[in-house]
Amino acid sequence: MIRSGLFGPVRRLALVETSPLRRADPRTKLVLSLCASLAVMLPLEQLAVFMVVWAGFLLWARLLPAAARQVWRIRWLLIVLGAVDWLVIGPSLAVIVTLRLILLSGVLTLFVGTTTPEELRLALESLHVPYRYAFSLSLAFQSVGLLEEEWQAIREAQRARGALPPGPLNLRYALARVRDLVAITVPAIVLTTRRAWAMTEAAYARGFDAPHRRPYRRLAMTWLDWLLLAGAIVVSAAWVLWRRIVLFAVL
């Protein structure tokens, strides 16, 4: 989605409001994400089967288009890693590494696309993570998009000052652009650090460290959550049993 802001259009993974998982408890989504992430340890054949099940689940959750977009965004990483693995080890490693990255990208979509930072904070708090850590983690979760925003804003500011103009396709110009990009790395870090500090200050100014904090909203599990958790347990158990059966057959 194109998110508009003071600094202009910024691409970031938006909430998929139409997803049924949007209504699910964030703790359930944490468990689902964890279970799905563990599938990266599966061997190729099982991983391939799991990917089919996973794609079906994302389809049901109306997250498949968002997951596909996320994969498209990391296409160069997939291509480069896949090519290197293929050349160095062989095609099977290339395929399994690619599938693992696609799976993790889908897990990211599942969680980030259906959970707000506030929901993550509530989930962590209800799992007895101390508030200061839960709050900091949720702020970091929220700030992932801000990093991109800062980067974009600085590039825009440089353009506004006449740097990085569109130019000819030659080595000298390409090197100048690389130099510009390196030059904005330091301010991007400085700006991000300053923003983090400003947020810390703003949080403390609103009583962040108060010992008697009381959450406005409380999480409550619904039948959908129990159903999803049961599904996760069934799928995990099936895989464990399958591995045992395969192991038994081999022995």
Partner: protein, 475 residues
């Protein structure tokens, strides 16, 4: 003193990075009193605000002398959370104090930290949203709001906590005239109901209606700029620009599916100062971004059929400053810089004492002036676009800003500024009043400011404090 609500005894502070900060100051503020902290840009007003609520020394390293008391609590010896229950601070830059992903959540966060029951949080939330006109924005992400809307949200989030001492750092700087009047009215109510209000603000005239307002002048800190420097009296050393006309035709911008600007058309020749005014969130910044080519848009922006060469000074100067020193910043990527122009700029903008200082360590007003210098040093062919140029500027620097704009216009360049500061806008050659449906009125400031009709249509008020500016202009 028995009824002291806030007391500072010879308080001074020096930041460790470059030793600047606050010179020794003593204050004694009674409960229910309104106090204006005045002083030139960079004199330490924001530092004193942080001292009063306890952020200094709890969060800042540096050399603090003297003591600050919030009633019976010594700020250095009391936990910060206890201090922030008594005293709330609204920071100068609202964009940097947004902590959540919805306006509603932003207000709730501070109320949760007070340990209030959900019913009371709900009540205070509704009240804050209504009072600051945030109901339609309730579920919007704070990061997508305009500067003025963010300012209102920041105020709502702190005021919903109902602190007995409210410290505001330039609260009016990003608010439109209507929102400014509403805020001052609300502050007056708070003062009457016993809340102590301390305000750092350059726009003194807007606060006249606060009951019993007392002004405390802060001494310039050691590094505060040399006001007496009158270099820069000479004209801007630049070659005169050949005459041109900027044509804007059918300009439209849609953000997140929401039309922000629609079918805007106007023509403005070089050699003019054009002020664009309008309510918060009406699309002023978006318009400047579109004019300079940073914002995808429909319609055309041309000079002689080509895209104009303009520089934009952003509302938030932090975004434009990357270099290690002010000097490097101003000369960044300029080949064969005109050092006469450089000298003129740093004198005119009061930046001479900070040439070797990292720009990001400067005060907000100083950073804004560095950003302006960077834009002017580049010497764009057709002119500059200034987004809220008077933010953080005291009267002297605002006057210099007007002189610079006039010097550019005299050299044939175009100066376009968006501002909520109507006394600044009144000094332009032409004023465009922007409403949610497009241009509401377009004409000379004297004509527009004396006709309440268009302002009412744009949802804005022309406050009484603008009238003296009109008088000055007539002279």
């Amino acid at each position: 003193m028995a009824d002291s609500c806030v007391r500072a005894d010879q308080v001074s502070f020096r930041y460790p990075q470059d030793g600047h900060g606050l010179n020794a100051v003593s204050l004694d503020i009674r409960a229910g009193e309104a106090v204006l902290l005045a002083g030139p840009s960079g004199c330490g007003k924001s530092t004193l605000a942080r001292c009063l609520v306890g952020l200094i020394p709890h969060l800042y390293r540096g050399r603090l002398t003297g003591e600050v008391w919030l009633s019976e609590l010594n700020t250095a010896q009391t936990p910060l959370w206890r201090l922030t229950e008594r005293a709330g601070l609204v920071f100068q830059n609202p964009a940097s104090q947004m902590l959540t992903t919805s306006c509603e959540q932003e207000i709730i966060l501070g109320l949760e930290n007070l340990g209030l029951p959900p019913a009371e949080i709900r009540e205070r939330l509704g009240e804050a949203l209504a009072r600051f006109g945030l109901k339609p924005l309730r579920m919007r992400s704070p990061q997508t709001l305009s500067g003025g809307e963010q300012q209102r949200l920041a105020l709502a989030a702190v005021m919903a906590r109902r602190p007995s001492v409210l410290v505001l750092d330039e609260p009016l700087s990003m608010l439109d005239s209507t929102a400014s009047i509403e805020l001052v009215t609300h502050l007056a109510e708070l003062v009457r109901s016993g809340t102590t209000v301390v305000i750092c603000e350059h726009r003194h005239e807007r606060l006249r209606s606060l009951p019993g307002l007392r002004t405390v002048h802060l001494d310039p800190a050691a590094r505060a700029d040399a006001e007496g420097q009158e270099a820069g009296q000479a004209a801007l050393p630049t070659a005169p620009c050949s005459p041109f006309v900027l044509e804007v035709s059918g300009l439209g911008v849609t953000l997140g599916g929401r039309p922000v600007l629609q079918e805007l058309s106007f023509v403005v020749p070089g050699g003019r100062i054009l002020a664009i005014v309008g309510r918060n969130g009406v699309g002023k910044t978006t318009m400047l971004r579109a004019l300079v080519g940073l914002q995808p848009h429909v319609g055309t922006v041309t000079v002689d059929g080509k895209r104009p060469d303009l520089s934009l000074v952003f509302q938030n100067p932090d975004l434009q400053l990357f270099n290690a020193t002010v000097r490097e910043e101003i000369l960044y990527r300029i080949h064969g810089p005109d050092m006469r122009r450089y000298a003129w700029l740093i004198e005119m903008l009061g930046l001479r004492p900070y040439e070797a200082t990292p720009p990001l360590l400067l005060s907000e007003g100083e950073k804004k002036r560095v950003a302006l210098a960077t834009a002017l040093m580049r010497g764009p062919r057709h002119g500059v676009l200034l987004d809220e140029p008077s933010l953080g500027q005291d009267a002297a620097h605002k006057a210099r800003l007007v002189r610079i704009a006039r010097a550019l216009a005299d050299a044939g360049q175009l100066v376009v500024m968006t501002t909520h500061d109507l006394s600044l806008a009144a000094q332009a050659d032409r004023m465009v009043l922007l409403g949610s449906e497009g241009i509401v009125a377009d004409g000379s400031p004297a004509m527009l400011l004396n006709d309440p009709g268009p302002w009412a249509r744009a949802g804005l008020a022309v406050p009484a404090w603008v009238r003296p500016s009109l008088g000055e202009m007539a002279q």
